[in-house]
Amino acid sequence: MKKFFEKIFQSKVWRSIFRHGLPVSNRTRAEAVFYNFFLHVHPTKVRKRSLKFTYTWGLGGLSVGLFIVLVFTGALLMLYYRPSVAQAYWDMKDLQFVVSSGQFLRNMHRWAAHAMVAIVFLHMMRVFYTGSYRPPKEFNWVIGVMLLVITVLLSYTGYLLPWDQLSYWGISVGTNMVRSVPFGIGDKISFLLLGGNSVGENALVRFYVLHCFIIPVAAMVLMGIHFWRIRKDGGV
């Protein structure tokens, strides 16, 4: 049995995927982390006490887990949803009534979104109260704050997409609040967001593109930096 496995590990195919050998020495253990795409952001060594659950409460990991759920369900929802005034609400109704597990998808997406906002916020509180923003991690705190803003923006842009009364007035109120930014800047931002002066077809398309492409991509880039920094500073 042992021989069989050894044969596999020595095979050309296996070695082309995993260049390092079995992690039997400190060197090969380190190589296993360096050469793996998924593990390479990991520090090669972690302090034992930081592995304790109550040290971080796993909030960062939960946030990224929820983000993955959201990307996955969101991509599936995109298959059925058309961001047009005439179709949006009916597509939602079709998801609810005729798409297989459509309502389940929507609910997953929605609850994961709510949970993500809450958990990202808790994550920030944890970092704040444990003083984890202190040097040398000040910049990562800043990126974290940006990610919090992005999370909230993702949640807000997604709010318009069902195109019901709640979304319509939610976005009307939100963009009107933006308008009160002084020196005429508010009006400009609001116009830019809505693609006009009122919530309509243009606003729907803009919010859709923001929600499904621009903000998620920004989030992924920032998350990459965020995680990379954590690992380099010895976090999990």
Binding site: F53, K93, F97, V98, F104, D164
Partner: protein
């Protein structure tokens, strides 16, 4: 630590189970169970009904932008064999429109895209149009049917009629309804007495149960101020002045008075006043109640009004009877002696508020009295009620239900508003029309039908353009003076209470017309409306007959009938044996009483008309119950020959 791991493990398992349940939930759906039940049900039936393949079914109606999935569960809609099975499988009652073309929710409302029972009813959040309760269903007909009378939708038709007649358009803007004529109030001070006015303002229906005036629920004080205010308007419009009533009305001795009353009473009956007016609730419904009129209007006004109604009130429908001076006086004396309200509530001694005029005018405007009644002191009304043209599309979140606990839906809102107009806020001003339940339902239906839905033009059934025919010249003057068109239709214009006169001269003989004005009689004993006797002089009768002969003619109705004895006897045979006409018509006292008696029919009708009428009665009067016996030309000629021989 180990505890934490246990929790972690447990929660993971729970999440896994939840995740595994999701596809199951999708698999065991309500509609699938219904479709399976349906297939079991039709298998057990003696008749052959095809089972359905399992799957969502829908009607897609792109024209109306609707997708209706009701048919996913309502599977037996078109299966006659399923008439007596349970819902949702039973057969649909008679459908006026093709379901493939119109879908379900176009008429029923509700959430068509839903595949769950609760959701499909649409009584859920974010759905504006829940399914219509059965009693309000006809509202949907109104989306396309703009015509006046829709035989298949009697409730809607009634509702529209009530809205028109109750003059809702006086206060509310409603597309398709015009303001009705209502007596102007200038001169009311010279017409009525104050006691009557106060009582009337407080509760109009106490005086006349059928009045169209609603109850404004005025407090005592407001009614008094408004009465004081209105009593100051003594001058009639257009500078018309009242002649004083003949002195003999007050000064005559008892014996003379009795004679006068006797004459008045005779003329009152001969003129058939109760053809249009009611007296204590009995009589026609065209004009207003007379039972207590002597306690309302003073002698002087009554005298002037009966003498020449249009002089006092130019737009009123009352005809001018050709009464002689003594007959006129007698009529007034009769009314004064007979039509008294002995139970009229006396008003306590009253000192007018010093600012009654200003306050009265303010009240007059507050309740938008001038929405219906004209008054020189108040300008044209601003329509104070909300527009009702699109009320059927009012969203539930736009409605303020106040502190009421009624069902939160548009039909119950409208219904409650009609039943208790100020239920949602005491600050509201809408009066109480005291509708019956049936009337309220009808009005609610008609209002619910006013939606903002855009219907493709080819589906809309427009109201027939109204004829504007008004006879001119000498005849026109008589028609106006006698208000003929309040009961008769001429070339499509007028109100159809009595007959349509548009082809009168092709139907009846001139001699009969002339005689009829002397002694008008009802052609059918079972009818209540009767032609009044206007006491017309001969020259006016001649003008009428001349005009009819020249204008109210349809050339195609001419048909020469040969009146030889053979033909007459053949006709008689057809009458009594082949067609059994005597089961509805009477000749010399024998026969049924559904149709008019046919004695002396030969002195009334023209042969050509009888011939054409017998061949196809419904062509001339679609609602006639005269059977269409598919007579041959010869049969019709013989029957006509027999009938005109009855002189």
């Amino acid at each position: 630590m180990s505890n934490l791991r246990k929790y972690f493990a447990l929660s993971s398992v729970i999440f896994l189970i939840v995740l595994a349940l999701a596809p199951f939930k999708d698999y065991f759906q309500e509609w699938k169970s219904y479709q399976n039940q349906y297939n079991v049900l039709v298998n057990d039936l003696p008749q052959r009904v095809t089972p359905v393949p399992i799957g969502i079914k829908q009607l897609w109606i792109p024209k109306f932008d609707r997708v209706d999935r009701c048919v996913t569960c309502h599977l037996g809609m078109k299966e006659e064999a399923l008439k007596n099975v349970r819902q949702p499988f039973t057969t649909h009652p008679h459908m006026y429109h093709d379901v493939e073309e119109f879908g379900c929710t176009f008429c029923h409302e509700g959430q068509g895209s839903a595949t769950e029972y609760k959701e499909s009813l649409g009584k859920v959040k974010f759905w504006d149009k829940p399914i219509f309760p059965k009693e309000f269903m006809e509202a949907s007909c109104a989306k396309c049917h703009k015509e006046q009378i829709i035989p298949q939708a009697p409730i809607l038709t009634l509702g529209r009629k009530i809205i028109q007649e109750s003059n809702c358009a006086g206060c509310h803007k409603i597309e398709g309804y015009q303001k009705q004529w209502v007596p102007p109030l200038d001169g009311i001070g010279s017409k009525v007495n104050r006691t009557w006015l106060v009582n009337w303002l407080k509760n109009p229906k106490a005086y006349s149960p059928k009045t169209r005036m609603p109850n404004f629920l005025l407090p005592e004080e407001e009614a008094n101020i408004l009465a004081d205010f209105l009593m100051t308007f003594k001058e009639l419009p257009n500078g018309v002045t009242l002649e004083s009533a003949p002195a003999v009305l007050t000064s005559a001795s008892e014996a003379v008075k009795a004679k006068m009353i006797d004459l008045g009473s005779t003329r009152f009956k001969e003129a058939r006043c109760i053809s249009c007016h009611t007296v204590n609730g009995k009589g026609g419904y065209v004009a207003n109640e007379l039972g207590k009129v002597a306690s309302k209007d003073n002698k002087e006004w009554l005298y002037n009004y009966i003498k020449n109604p249009k002089h006092i009130s130019p737009d009123v429908a009352m005809p001018r009877f050709r009464l002689k001076e003594n007959e006129l006086t007698g009529m007034v004396a009769y009314i004064e002696s007979e039509f008294v309200d002995y139970e009229m509530e006396a008003q306590p001694e009253h000192t007018p508020d010093p600012a009654f005029y200003e306050k009265g005018l303010a009240l007059f405007k507050k309740y938008n009295c001038n929405g219906c009644h004209e008054l020189s002191a108040a300008h044209k009304s601003e329509e104070v009620g909300p527009e009702l043209s699109l009320i059927g599309s009012k969203k539930i979140y736009e409605i303020d239900f106040g502190k009421t606990t009624i069902d939160q839906s548009l039909p119950s809102y409208i219904h409650a508003k009609l039943a208790t107009p100020r239920i949602f806020s005491p600050a509201m001003k809408m009066p109480n029309f005291q509708f019956t339940d049936e009337e309220m339902q009808a009005v609610t239906v008609a209002l619910l039908g006013n939606t903002n839905e855009t219907i493709p033009e080819e589906y809309i059934v427009h109201a027939k353009p109204k004829s504007t025919f008004v006879p001119q010249g000498e005849f026109g003057k008589i028609v106006k003076d006698l208000a003929c068109m309040s009961c008769h239709v001429m070339n499509g214009n007028g109100r159809l209470v009595a007959t349509d006169l548009s082809m009168e001269a092709s139907q009846v003989q001139r001699k009969w017309v002339e005689g009829y004005f002397k002694v008008p009689y009802s052609l059918r004993p079972i009818l209540t409306e009767r032609m009044p006797n206007f006491f017309l002089p001969n020259d006016e009768i001649k003008t009428i007959a001349d005009y009819m002969e020249k204008v109210f003619v349809v050339d195609s109705l001419d048909h020469e009938i040969t009146k030889d004895a053979a033909s007459v006897s053949k006709g008689k045979g057809l009458y009594f044996e082949k067609f059994g006409c005597q089961s509805c018509h009477q000749i010399s006292g024998k026969g049924g009483y559904v149709g008019p008696p046919l004695d002396k029919i030969g002195s009334r009708l023209k042969g050509g008309w009888i011939y054409h009428w017998l061949k196809n009665p419904q062509a001339y009067k679609p609602e006639s119950i005269e059977p269409d016996n598919k007579l041959t030309d010869e049969e019709a000629e013989d029957l006509a020959a027999y009938l005109i021989s009855l002189k």
